[in-house]
Each structure stands twice: as C-alpha cells, then as structure tokens.
Amino acid sequence: MSYKKRLDGRKFDELRSIEAKVGVVKNATGSAYFKIGNTMAYAAVYGPRDLFPRFLKDPKRGLLRCNYNMMPFSGMGERVRPGPSRRSKEISMVTEGALLPVVNLENFPNSVVDVYIELPQTDAGSRCAGICAASMALADAGIAMKDLVGAVSVGLVDGQIVLDLNYDEEAYDKGDVADIPMAYIPNMDKFSLLQMDGKVKPEDLIKALELAKKGALEILKVQRNALKHRFEVVKNE
C-alpha cells in the first residue's frame, strides 16, 4: 500500500474532467463526442438501415453492429495501426455486448444499426469512453433504448482502489495494477461490461465496483445533460 497520492493529483474516487457533445457528425443518423481526461471518442450511428451481408439478417429483430477504431496518431507517439486487429475486434464485440441490453431493435427486423467509434486520442479507458459516446449517439439517432449506459474503469494500483485510471496509472511499475473497465445500466442496476486486466481479491472487486457505480452515475449525468442540451440550445435562443 504505497500508492498514497495519485500520479495526476486526483482524489482516489475522482473522475478525470469530462466533456460531452451530441450531434457532431452531420451525415450520421445520430452522433456524439465524449472526452474523459485525454481520451477522446467520437461515435456515429447510421441506421436502422438495410443489412449486408444478407445472411446476417435476423427476421425477428435488428442487428447492432459496433466498430471500434483507434486512429493512427491516437497513441502515445507510436503509430497505431488502424483497422481490425485482435484487440479492436474484441473491443468492438464487448462494446456491442455492453449496449445490447438497452437497445430495443424489435421494431426493425432484418435491418442493422451501425455504430462507428473512432478515437483520435487515447490515454487509457478508451473502450469506456467509446461506450459512453456510443450510448449517447444511439439516443440521438432516435433508437428506442431502455436506458443510457455509463462506462468507466476502476482499478487497484498497488493495493489502492482508484477510479478512472489514466495511462500512467495503468502502466504503474512500482506495484501490481489491476484495471477493470465496466459499463453500468442504472435502471436495471446491472453491469453490461466487466473485464479485468491483473489480479484482484473478491472483496476488493466488490468495493471497486461500488466505486465504479458512483463514477458511472456521474458520467450518466453528463451524458443526459449533453443530450438535453442539444435541443435546448436552440430553444433558448
């Protein structure tokens, strides 16, 4: 337990600064921008639209198709190879899993809702930022959803539970680090994403998730405001 002070001076249960905006991509059906600390995510939603390839069509419900992509210049100086990789494919899959419990695509059989998540700059927590942006973008696209999804990472840095790790903390080398990205659906009180990198004791995991819930609720507040703000801007002119 030698991690007494966070590397960037935050409190242990403090999020990085958040910015959220809706309606940033004009051509998309719905879009959103989400920034947490130095991690930026754009999400653009297209559809419901006709689905290709056709064998993926489901006559019972629409399909949600997510695509996560880090831009070449988004990393820490080294070029990130964009496009599908083992990592980005996995993250696309878990993003889909995180959003699927809330979206209701039963009214759109045989169609697809495409979600493209692009990250121009990353500093850890990119899949969470992507999920936050995507959930706002889906709401902006007018898709029926049970709730919004808030996502954030928690972790253990040298035995200390911390909220919203940045890259320096994730790469902390003077002790063990566990990084737990998670997504939370407040209405159902359920986690729709839970992954982990590192080791954690069961009792610490419970504590960490309680903290993550609090963080996610704060993020959700920002998301809701951003969505309402989109239309209120014009309303109050």
Partner: protein
C-alpha cells in the same frame, strides 16, 4: 396503491431511461415503457401528456413506414410485376403494376413508359407487413410521378412541423414563394417553382423550419424569415395561434 405522480412537465426534453411518471394511474404510450409501477422514457424527445396517457414526441430518428402515409420515393428497379422503390427507410418498397395504373399492360410491355429507374414518385403506403415490407399504391388524389423541381431531405420527425396544423405552414410557404411543395412523410420534400430563386428561398425556409422545429412561435419566426426574403406572407384564419401543434 401509492399515489400516482408525474415527474416531468409537458414539453420537457427527456432522455432514454428517465422516469416520467410514477404509479399505475398513468398509461405509457409511444416512446415510453413501464417498469414496475413507473413509466420511463425510451426515446429522446419531448414529453406530451394527454390526460392520463404519457407519450414522447421524438426529435430525431429514421423513418419507420406506416400504413396510409403519403411518401416520396425513388424508383430503383423494375421487375416482372412492378417497381422497386427506395423510401428513405431501412426497408424496400414494392409498387405492383395493378396498384400503379388502371391501364391494361400486356405481358412483356415496356414498364419504363410509366416509371423509369431514377424517377421520383409521390405514392401512398397501403400496407406494411410484420417484417416492414412496404406495398405502395398510386391510386389516390395527388399521387403521381414527379416532374422537374428539386428534392430536399429533411428529418422525418420534423415533417409535422413543416406541414403545420392542417397544412397551414406549407400553404403559407407555397403562397409566399409561388412554389409547388409536396412533403412526404418519409422526410423527402419536393419543391418546384417557376424560377430558381423561388425554389432556393423555399429550400432555405424548409431548412430553417427543420433547425428550429421544436421552438415555440415557429410560425411567427418563419413569417419573419419569409418577409426578410422580400416575400409577402398571407396569414390564414385557421393559423392564428396555431404554432404549437406538437
């Protein structure tokens, strides 16, 4: 049972998951769902409370085909029994020969005589299947092939504002700009005037309505906008105070 209570006001902007009302004496309608005893929003939009019924008027989203809607579509293909039409939704539409015309068409006749690929048509949805396949008809007043003019795409959720109460908004623009306008429920608008200037002013006006559609006092704002373009606007009797038809 506990007391029922509304948590939001009429015309509030709500986001998915927001609690709109508590208790069983309110009823969930479009854009909402019930969870336990609460009514929650399932879409981003404006709250509308109609007696005990709570619903949401969406502010965004793609067109979902509905029976009896008059839409504007583009012919994408011709097959044995009719035409395939693109409808600005996720689903393709089919216009069969018997619904297109009363003419007797002989087997193997050239169907491009009626509608060619790329033509825009004003048409009516007469059936939507459970899989959202669309059947179209050309039988009805004003349903025809479009000739000339220009096509504008708007958000389908803004169409009611463009049309206005009993067509008041669109008829005001028509009179002010001397343009012929047809607004399809699917968000495709056709505009034809005698000269390009009229058409451009009309396009600008419709874009403005689209941007400011959820504001109150829209008719007044559009009237001013048209007057700033040097158009004379005649306000009809039925339009008085009719700027909040949401």
């Amino acid at each position: 049972m506990e007391k029922s209570e509304l948590k939001v006001n009429e015309k509030d902007i709500v986001v998915p998951g927001e609690v709109l009302a508590q208790g069983m004496s309110y009823l969930p309608s479009e854009g909402t769902y019930r969870k336990g005893e609460d009514i929650l929003a399932s879409r981003l939009g404006l709250v509308r409370i109609d007696g005990k019924v709570v619903k949401i008027i969406p502010l965004s989203g793609k067109y979902l085909p509905k029976k009896m809607d008059v839409i504007i579509g583009r012919v994408t293909d011709i097959n044995f029994s009719g035409w395939n039409v693109e409808t600005n939704s996720a689903y393709p539409a089919m216009l069969s020969m018997k619904d297109a015309t009363d003419d007797f068409i002989r087997r193997g006749a050239d169907l491009t005589r009626y509608f060619d690929v790329g033509d825009y048509i004003v048409t009516k949805i007469y059936n939507v299947t459970s899989q959202n396949l669309i059947d179209l008809t050309m039988k009805g007043p004003g349903l025809r092939k479009i000739d000339g003019g220009r096509i504008v795409f708007v958000s389908p959720t803004k169409v009611p504002r463009i049309i206005g109460k009993q067509g008041s908004m669109v008829s005001m623009i028509k009179k002010a700009t001397n343009c012929n306008i047809i607004v399809g429920q699917n968000g495709i608008v056709w505009i034809k005037g005698t000269n390009p200037e009229d058409e451009i002013d009309t396009v600008d006006t419709i874009t403005k309505i689209e941007q400011e559609s959820h504001m109150s006092g829209l008719t007044e704002a559009i009237k001013k906008f048209l007057e700033s373009k040097g158009r004379t606007v005649v306000v009809e009797e039925q339009m008085q105070g009719g700027n909040d038809e949401l």
